[in-house]
Amino acid sequence: MNLLDQYEQVVGHWEIERLRRLGERLAGKRIVHVNSTKSGGGVAEILGWMIPLMRELGMDVSWEVIQGPPEFYRVTKALHNGLQGFPVALRQRDYALHCEVNRENAQRLDVQADVVFVHDPQPLFLPHFTPKDRVGKWVWRCHIDASRPNRAIWKHLEKGIADYGAAIFSMAAFTRPLRCPMYLIPPSIDPLSDKNCALSETERLATLSQTGIDADRPLLLQVSRFDRFKDPLGVIEAYRLLKPYYPELQLALAGGPADDDPEGAEVLDEVRTRAADDKDTKVLLLPPDAHRAINALQRSAIIVLQKSLKEGFGLTVTEALWKGKPVVGGASGGIALQVHDYHTGFLVYSPPGAAYRIRYLLRYAEKRQRMGKTGHIFVREHFLLTRHLRDYMTMLLDLEQPDGKVLAV
């Protein structure tokens, strides 16, 4: 069975048929994706599924990875943080290194193509150093929130962005005015991945047993890094407000450490201290590849929380909705695009607000189940990788005729 056939089992025959029709219009088109790593991180994960699917749909797609010395990655990490508005200080020679490594890679990489997608800021200057006749159109795919960048960093990156024919962002709120046309393509989840696939009851129960969670009592769950912006202490506060009314309730806070956040360990300590006197609160520090364990926890929860104070798109919300769980989420970033009051969960603004909405959901089982069902359908319609792929393909068609109001293909 080929890949598309596997997804057909999830999204239905007609959805895949539509992709094939679009693929016919793009057959043979030469496309190159360039990023900075072949494994690890969200971008590599997306390209890992997207490239085989694009090939199966008839496009000639390849994936190139830039290389550079360790110092280059220190600089690009700072550029990445600076693009998101964090205070970073780079010297002139750091900017020069960024450009120089891009120049070297431009000579090494095979980017002869109709369209080249450059992911994030690391390979941003490739167009600047590539002969003009090699690439039909350069497209910058920015996966992060670039709406309020650090000014010095932006001044540097803006010079590179000037060479692009288009840019793609995940949300309108992540953009800032650019000279080139911009496109919106929200991220997605892979329903067949370890994190989202169906699990056996045996595996689910084994995970609960390993993590010390009682499978017979209701579980509240938040999956996120231990980061202040995810407000884990606010989640504990909400849980404590609920506990007198629902003594059987359990809470699990599951996630990895925030390696790039110096406060991460400090936050984790605070969370553990705050949770120490309650045996029903589990703080689970999981390795980055614990996808099936996360999957099992999400499937075991009665309600999933994502009480972020600041959030990117919030794919953990998408994952929970896909598993039929209502979500109580902070009104920030992409959470507000996914959590709709009384339909897929509730947006909240404080720990008492979260406690109040959870109480409502615990009280009304039928409404909880209906919201879970709506959430699953919502994700199937909007946030599965098939939609993501369709968006890329229609954008490629639009790039050929960017001036039409309605483009018939």
């Binding site: 539509r18 309108a172 709120a173 911009m182 639009d398």
Partner: protein, 226 residues
């Protein structure tokens, strides 16, 4: 009933292009509506239907929803909620109409309503990429099955976009029925569906209800594929 011209099922996809511009208060919204390209107004008043899947949303367009949820200006939201863009001959007229409502509201207020950070309205324009699915329907009864399973994007194309193409007079389904000589009552009832105030799932249900009630013949339920 056989048709010499089978119904051609189309699908579409929205290419959404952010403008990089956002509004945090009513005056900014007013200025934006006055100056943005027509495709922005078209997106937030019409094509936003492709993103709404919830039966209970009070408002059929982004502007009314934002005024209600983010600005807390319920009076203006109610006014914008009843503006039907498909009743306007073009976007320029619609723009004037929207500006008139907002100016009226600003005139009557002591303070300009604003939203808290994070709830800004980010302005987007969109283009519709339409494509032939290859599916052909040869009988009205087969269309019932097709509508039942076709994507919500196809429904949008054959109803909302069809209204734009036809100058507000018809959707593609009733036009095809008319060509086939199907009962005029079915054609009339299809065209009377208040599609702008329905989400796409509700629209599907209404279409199916009309089909069920008006198509009396025990017809075969097979479409044909090219």
């Amino acid at each position: 009933m056989d048709s010499p011209e089978p119904f051609k099922v189309m699908d579409c996809s929205l290419v959404r292009c952010p403008t990089g511009r956002s509004c945090a208060n009513l005056r900014e919204l007013r200025d934006a509506i006055q100056t943005v390209p027509e495709a922005v107004i078209e997106h937030h008043m019409m094509r936003c239907a492709l993103e709404d899947h919830f039966a209970l949303y009070e408002f059929p367009n982004d502007l009314a929803l934002w005024c209600w949820n983010a600005l807390g200006d319920h009076l203006l939201a109610e006014h914008l909620g009843v503006v039907d863009p498909y009743q306007h001959p073009d976007i320029a007229t619609l723009r004037e109409h929207l500006l008139d409502y907002i100016d009226d509201r600003l005139w009557s207020l002591d303070r300009v309503p604003w939203c808290r950070g994070g709830l800004e309205l980010h302005l987007v324009q969109s283009r519709l990429v339409s494509y032939d699915t290859g599916e052909r329907i040869s009988t009205p009864a087969a269309l019932v099955d097709a509508v039942d399973r076709m994507s919500s994007r196809s429904l949008f194309y054959h109803v909302h976009e069809a209204r734009r193409r036809s100058g507000g007079t018809t959707d593609d389904f009733s036009l095809w029925f008319e060509d086939l000589g199907v009962d005029p009552e079915a054609v009339r009832r299809l065209r009377a569906i208040d599609f702008y105030f329905l989400n796409l799932q509700q629209l599907r249900e209404e279409l199916l209800a009309v089909f069920q009630e008006c198509l009396m013949d025990p017809l075969d339920r097979k479409g044909t594929r090219r």
